[in-house]
């Protein structure tokens, strides 16, 4: 069962949240970030090439121009492959674990899976980010040594950065599944 809603991120860009309920114990949340804008791409390319042309007029060396083209291409490919995240997905499966996937613009996918035995809770936390105070969803991991301690805080949707209304939706769904998980772990 699928539905899609649109939210906004902390900077005001549009985000689309797609929710898929595969079964009562398995849910997936997919946040799509705004695409690479043509305007910013043109601006950066023009700046680099103008700077290269300026240097060329000073040095009269044509290597600078070819170097500028090379740098632009390599920079764009590197940006698409390593920096620009298109989609972030959170898959939560009862009694198995939580999986976070980030898909980059070049098609690369980077996945992290956390087993349910390590997850203590999912909470919404506040943080100071530059000049703003933002909310973010994070997974608290259990400390193997201390039963009531937390060993790590793993933030979710780090590059999409949705606002509180979106986070509350995701939080509620995740807590339903975690409540099931806690109930089964206390009743053997």
């Amino acid at each position: 069962m699928e539905d899609e809603r649109s939210f906004s991120d902390i900077c005001g860009g549009r985000l689309a949240l797609q929710r898929r309920y595969y079964s009562p114990s398995c849910r997936e949340f997919c946040l799509s970030c705004p695409q690479l804008s043509l305007r910013s791409l043109t601006a950066v390319t023009c700046t680099v090439w103008l700077a290269a042309y300026g240097l060329f007029s000073l040095c009269e060396n044509s290597m600078i121009l070819s170097a500028a083209i090379f740098i632009t291409l390599v920079g764009l490919l590197g940006y698409l492959h390593f920096v620009k995240i298109d989609q972030e997905t959170l898959l939560i499966i009862d009694s198995l674990g939580i999986q976070m996937t980030s898909s980059y613009a070049s098609g690369k996918e980077s996945t992290t899976f956390i087993e349910m035995g390590k997850v203590k809770d999912i909470v919404i936390n506040e943080a100071i980010y530059m000049q703003k105070v933002i909310y973010y969803l994070c997974i608290l991991l259990k400390d193997p040594v201390e039963p009531h301690g937390i060993s790590q805080v793993v933030p979710v949707f780090q590059s999409a950065k949705p606002r509180l209304d979106c986070l509350i939706e995701v939080y509620r769904s995740c807590q339903e599944i975690l409540a099931q998980q806690k109930a089964t772990s206390t009743n053997p």
């Binding site: 069962m1 309920y21 595969y22 079964s23 009562p24 114990s25 398995c26 997936e28 898959l91 499966i93 009862d94 009694s95 198995l96 999986q99 996937t101 996945t111 992290t112 899976f113 087993e115 035995g117 390590k118 193997p144 040594v145 509620r172 339903e176 409540a179 099931q180 109930a183 089964t184 772990s185 009743n187 053997p188």
Partner: protein, 612 residues
């Protein structure tokens, strides 16, 4: 059977339009909550004929790992014998978990009753019944537990498909190793997925027979189409025994010769500890001894280290041979020898110009003429000696270079270490100047600080290691103040010489450091692990990832488990070979402090630190 508190919250939060969505949830919640049963099923058995499911049940995680399918017809006694054999060989509790049914259309009544009868022959809680329509995509799966006579309850099942070959061959790299966990401890306690990997990896005894074997029991698993083997690997294994023995004895002979008494005597041992070539050769000898040792690798980490060492040595020798062929072709050595002496001459000339500049008015500063002339003439005489020495050596340079070039066949690292040593030897005069300048400067600084204390009426108490006040006589104060003034006004000259020679020395040290960095890189890069990560990414696993397969309401959830490979940075970090120990021992702050106070610096600590 308590009512789940979430039911109340769900009811209060649901608007009427989405009530149908929550109906499924409510139906689920009204049943007593039990842990969802996870059945790990190998993808290779998905199209196998009907039969029994054989595998391991992990009750703590409520997961059943299916390892193979036993086909009809079979004799139950033989199946039990086979399972007992496997259990003994692998220390893993293998049992019959349930039945597998893959047929053209809906199973007939007789087959259904026959399958149910099997549950009595092979008692196991819970009993799995997997069923798939041939050609269809959806599966049905039931797990029943017998609770008391006649009553049975069903569990919810999630099917997780895994690639048996990849899981067998892969090695999990946990993100952090707990300090109190012993090596070789049972990993099932740490996580459900580690238990799955451990089960599959230990059950090799089950996968030894394929369908061409005439055994009593017919199995289906990843090797049932034919056991994987390679002729080259088998031949290499057979040949490696005697070859390793021979080479290990040769290496022990070499190291015995190297450890003999002649080399322990003062001049040779001192030279051996200072030259980085000897250090590198010793390091390589250690590596070769590791590779050709007759002891088998005990765990995967040791095996990887051996393989990485072999790859590193091979790359080293290959690059060295390349360098050798480049050097010896087209009489490059002759060209090199011809340019070496003029370059040394040029460097000495530049140094002479520098000293002439210092003896004049360098950068507009006014030096003390007498001290300036003394120091300048002293260093100029040194350079003159050095030039004569170089000219004495000039006929032999080509021969020396030719023989040094031959050493490149031992490896590029040896050639680079030799290059670093040659640079050190050729710039020995700069090192000498630095030591003279530093000693003079340090003497001056010590004198100044001690006389400054006298000027203020204090004294250094060596017993108490602190500064105490002291009453001096008038003549002591007079002499002391006079000396202090002399030293103070001579300080700029000495400081300038010290500064110039320290900068030159630091330049040489930087060049040597770069060469050592390159040598270190070749020594410690884990090439085999990087190649493995590139070509067989499933072998080095950081974890797993799941994908939800096509789902229909009412059917069990199906997931595909794939291996998540380790990122390259972690591969390098985990499998780095230990380096030669040429790392700087001092931080930048302590280095600056030592430079300021005039102490001699050795940017990388040698094995035996020279006390000067």
């Amino acid at each position: 059977m308590g009512v789940c508190p979430v039911v109340g919250s769900v009811l209060s939060h649901c608007p009427p339009s989405s009530f149908s969505r929550h109906k499924e949830l409510l139906l689920f919640f009204l049943k007593p909550p039990s842990m969802v049963l996870k059945a790990f099923f190998p993808t290779c058995c998905a199209s196998a004929d009907s039969g029994l499911l054989v595998g391991r049940w992990v009750p703590e995680q409520s997961c059943a790992v299916v390892l193979a399918v036993v086909h009809f017809p079979f004799i139950p006694i033989q199946v039990k014998q086979l399972l007992a054999q496997v259990q003994q060989a692998s220390q893993v509790g293998v049992a019959v978990l349930g039945t597998w049914c893959c047929c053209r259309q809906e199973p007939e009544e007789s087959l259904g009753r026959f399958l149910e009868g099997l549950a009595a022959v092979f008692p196991h809680e819970p009993w799995l019944r997997l069923c798939r329509e041939r050609g269809g995509t959806f599966w049905s799966c039931e797990a029943t537990r017998r609770q008391g006579p006649g009553a049975s309850s069903e569990d919810q099942v999630t099917l997780i498909f895994y690639d048996q070959r990849q899981v067998l061959l892969s090695q999990l790299h946990p993100p952090a190793v707990l300090p109190d966990r012993q090596v070789g401890a049972d990993p099932t306690g740490t996580g459900g997925l580690a238990a799955v990997f451990h089960t599959v990896a230990c059950s090799e005894a089950l996968f030894r027979s394929d369908r061409f074997d005439e055994g009593p029991v017919r199995l289906s698993h990843w090797q049932s189409e034919g056991v994987e083997a390679s002729i080259l690997a088998e031949l290499a294994k057979r040949a490696s025994g005697p070859v390793c023995l021979l080479l290990a004895s040769l290496l022990s002979l070499v190291s015995a010769v190297g450890a003999c008494r002649v080399f322990q005597l003062r001049p040779l041992s001192f030279l051996g500890s200072k030259l980085s070539t000897c250090e590198q050769l010793r390091h390589r000898l250690e590596h070769l001894r590791l590779i050709f040792s007759t002891k088998k690798a005990e765990n995967p980490a040791q095996l990887m280290r051996k393989a990485n060492t072999v790859a590193s040595v091979l790359l080293d020798v290959a690059l060295g041979l390349l360098l050798l062929s480049w050097l010896h072709g087209r009489s490059r050595i002759g060209h090199l020898a011809d340019t070496l002496i003029p370059v040394a001459d040029h460097v000495a000339e530049e140094l002479q110009h520098l000293l002439q500049w210092l003896m004049g008015a360098p950068a507009g500063l006014k030096m003390n003429r007498a001290l300036d002339q003394v120091l300048g003439r002293f260093f100029l005489y040194h350079i003159h000696l050095w030039i004569s020495y170089i000219h004495l050596m000039s006929p032999f340079v080509e021969h020396i270079l030719w023989h040094v070039g031959l050493s490149a066949c031992l490896g590029l690292t040896v050639a680079l270490s030799l290059l670093a040593d040659i640079v050190a030897l050729l710039t020995f005069h700069i090192y000498c100047f630095y030591v003279y300048g530093a000693r003079l400067y340090r003497l001056k600084i010590h004198g100044l600080s001690s006389l400054w204390r006298l000027f203020r009426g204090k004294k250094w108490n060596a017993l108490r290691r602190r500064v105490d006040s002291c009453s001096y006589d008038l003549d002591q104060l007079f002499i002391g103040t006079l000396l202090f003034t002399i030293l103070l006004f001579l300080l700029p000259t000495t400081a300038l010489y010290y500064l110039v020679f320290t900068l030159l020395r630091l330049l040489v040290v930087a060049v040597q450091g770069l060469i050592h960095l390159l040598v270190d890189l070749i020594n410690s890069l884990p090439l085999y692990s990087l190649g493995l990560r590139l070509c067989r990414p499933y072998r080095l696993a950081a974890g797993v990832k799941f994908r939800v397969l096509e789902h229909e309401a009412g059917r069990p959830l199906r997931l595909l488990m794939q291996i998540n490979p380790l990122p390259y940075s972690r591969v390098v970090h985990t499998y780095r070979l230990p380096s030669c120990g040429g790392h700087p021992q001092h931080s930048w702050g302590s280095l600056c402090r030592r430079l300021f106070s005039g102490e001699l610096i050795y940017p990388w600590g040698q094995r035996s630190d020279r006390q000067d």
